[in-house]
């Protein structure tokens, strides 16, 4: 029973997740780009790769921008969250086997204790974000069910992965839940708030180009 469920979630369901993630992301990026070419020509005309690059480099460096400097706790949490969020799924030892199984590729794994610590960091950062959504009034004012859903989807695979790895509660149940939440994570990236993962680059590159190119001024 468990084995067949496991095979389904890591087989067809996982492929469904990858398909929605890849095709959905490509569709959203391509359709928005073509819409911009049609309707936002007066903005697109100013886009320049070097300005976009400058902007991205500043904003992916902790404390390199006014926004990051003004909110130190949020800066630390955001960087810890995103770095760990991306590194753990890709470099976790147990995932390396799956990469090989799915795509026939392999690379060096993170030591399990490091990956475990990073998972805890993701969960702690998510807890901090949740705290802000409740207790920090400018965040609470903006928060709707969509934001809670986004946060839950983002952190769920880490929470279930952590519980499974430490064999807290039922391992078999948890590992299946882990894969399902992981698939949900992939499926939702192209849509809603999680789409900032793929669309944030557009707005960043554009505003970088507009500020540096038109306004002759930094956007950080």
């Amino acid at each position: 029973m468990y084995n067949s469920i496991y095979d389904v979630v890591t087989g067809p369901l996982a492929w469904f997740g990858w398909a929605v993630f890849i095709l959905g992301s490509l569709y959203r990026m391509a359709s928005l780009y073509s819409e911009a070419k049609k309707k936002d020509v007066s903005s697109l005309a100013y886009v320049k790769a070097s300005y976009g690059f400058n902007s991205i480099m500043h904003w992916i460096t902790p404390f390199a921008t006014l926004g990051w400097k003004s909110n130190p706790a949020m800066t630390v949490a955001t960087f810890a969250f995103h770095i760990c969020l991306l590194a753990v799924p890709v470099f976790l030892g147990a995932h390396i086997d799956l990469w090989y199984q799915w795509f026939g590729v392999s690379w060096v794994a993170l030591p399990d204790t490091v990956a475990d610590t990073m998972t805890v960091l993701v969960i702690l950062a998510a807890a901090f974000f949740a705290y802000r959504r409740i207790a920090v009034k400018e965040v609470a004012f903006l928060t709707t069910w969509k934001d809670w859903m986004t946060l839950i989807i983002a952190v769920a695979p880490f929470l279930t992965g952590f519980l499974a790895y430490h064999q807290i509660l039922n391992y078999q149940f948890m590992i299946v839940l882990h894969v399902i939440t992981g698939v949900a994570w992939l499926v939702f990236i192209p849509f809603g708030r999680l789409s900032h993962a793929i669309l944030g680059w557009y707005s960043r590159v554009y505003i970088g180009s507009e500020f540096q190119g038109v306004r002759h001024c930094n956007d950080w």
Partner: protein, 446 residues
């Protein structure tokens, strides 16, 4: 939560009569016309990628000045206006449009300071401009702002200045100036001049001495210059802020064409912020020009050039220390902070930086057309910019007596803030100081 704005509803006859004429059908149709016909991927990406993190809040002077009231935060303004219009596909009532208009026209100066705080590069100013555009198309605009837009439509200037009054004002200033500079002219419609000098409507209307001063500086520097006698002389553009983009385009076109007809080499504009924005940012885009057809130089750059080349020399420097207010449209908008500091260091003994400064400076709360919304909204600006008063007070405590603000809107805004918060500071344009303290080789001896 969404009705919180009505706790602070401001009565405005323009907004009220505007919504009285609306029906839900008209609102829905107009909102969707703008979304389908005028906005595109840019709005969608900004709206979809915002993760509601709240980091933008502390960027906004309204938020800071209202003891961190979240309904004034940039993203807070978005969620109370355009988010709902998008989510409900325009199915909202007239009262909601009043709320949108009050927020977009009077509680956001489109200063874009929040861009420096947003990790995702979201431009709230753009989204507020879209809200204004919708309100304009619905005929829901603050009365005073709409009056200036009407003036633009009827006269091609902001202040209902008639054609004969314009030339009369120039001749009057020329006559006045001749007591001091016997050979000075304000040359009208001179063909092929190096400099076409353009001003904003309020200069001939009630700041006429600025034309005198500019004439004196241009004369003393020996510049080959001209001003047009016909419409096109006003570089200002309140239609850009009311959301009347068709009119914005017409204004920019007549401004540039007026300079082109005179074969002027370049346009030098007075110390104005929003007019400069409408030239390089919004008006040109509406007309489909990536850049502008005639080079446009802001006074800050022009003064820097005159001082660098020695065409203007200062007889004495203005006693310091002064402080510098960086206007959003020329600094965050056009990166002239270094030129501004160069000019100030050449004409003043010393200056003390306001904090924050340069492209991170707080807005004056007058820009973006807010001061043009008139007396009903004066307290919105005063209560909404305690942050600026605190900044100015901190400078005053370091011995500053004079603030330099090279922008008309900033002047209006800061003047009110200085009075309201009893800061006891003087306010100057660069031109005020240059005119008063330059070497006047062409003037009569006193």
């Amino acid at each position: 939560m969404y009705n919180k704005i009505f706790d602070r509803k401001v009565d405005d006859i323009g907004l009220q009569t505007g919504i009285d004429r609306l029906t839900p059908e008209k609102i829905e149709k107009t909102v969707n016309e703008v979304f389908s016909g005028e906005t595109g991927a840019k709005l969608k990406v900004y709206h979809d990628t915002c993760v509601r993190c709240g980091l933008c809040a502390s960027a906004c002077h309204y938020y800071v000045s209202h003891d961190n009231d979240p309904s004034y935060s940039p993203a807070g303004k978005v969620t109370q206006t355009i988010s709902i219009l998008l989510d409900k596909k325009g199915k909202v009532g007239p009262d909601f449009i009043y709320q949108c208009a009050q927020i977009a026209y009077t509680e956001c100066n489109l200063c874009r300071r929040c861009v420096h705080y947003c990790p995702l590069g979201i431009d709230t100013g753009y989204m507020m401009s879209v809200v204004r555009r919708i309100c304009h198309k619905l005929g829901v605009t603050p009365q005073y702002l709409q009056d200036t837009a009407h003036s633009h439509s009827a006269t091609m200037n902001q202040m209902w200045v008639k054609d004969d009054e314009w030339t009369d004002s120039l001749l009057w200033q020329e006559e006045e100036a001749r007591d001091e500079f016997p050979d000075m002219r304000i040359p009208l419609d001179k063909d092929g001049a190096d400099v076409y000098y353009s001003v904003i409507g309020p200069e001939p209307k009630f700041r006429t001495h600025l034309i005198y001063q500019a004439g004196a500086i241009l004369h003393e520097a020996g510049v080959n210059w001209t001003m047009p006698s016909m419409p096109g002389w006003d570089n200002s553009d309140m239609a850009m802020y009311s959301g009347d983009f068709e009119m914005m385009g017409r204004l920019k076109r007549i401004h540039f064409e007026s300079a082109q007809k005179l074969h002027s080499k370049k346009i030098v504009m007075g110390e104005c912020g929003h007019a400069f924005r409408s030239v390089y940012d919004q008006g040109n885009r509406w007309l489909g020009w990536k850049d502008y057809p005639v080079e446009v130089v802001h006074s800050i750059e022009f003064f820097a050039h005159l001082l660098k080349t020695g065409k203007i020399k200062m007889a004495e420097k203005f006693p310091g220390p002064v402080t510098i207010h960086d206007p959003c449209n020329v600094i965050r908008g056009r990166g002239l902070m270094n030129e501004l500091r160069y000019v100030v260091s050449e004409i003043c003994e010393s200056y003390i930086e306001m904090q924050p400064n340069a492209e991170h400076n707080f807005c004056c709360a007058a820009g973006g057309g807010v001061i043009n919304c008139g007396p009903p909204f004066k307290n919105v600006r005063m209560d909404g910019n305690r942050a600026k008063a605190d900044q100015l007070r901190a400078a005053a405590e370091q011995g500053v007596k004079t603030v330099i603000a090279p922008c008309h809107n900033c002047h209006g805004g800061l003047e009110d803030i200085i009075e309201h918060y009893e800061l006891g500071l003087d306010l100057k344009f660069l031109g005020d100081i240059i005119y008063a303290n330059m070497v006047k080789t062409k003037a009569v001896e006193e």
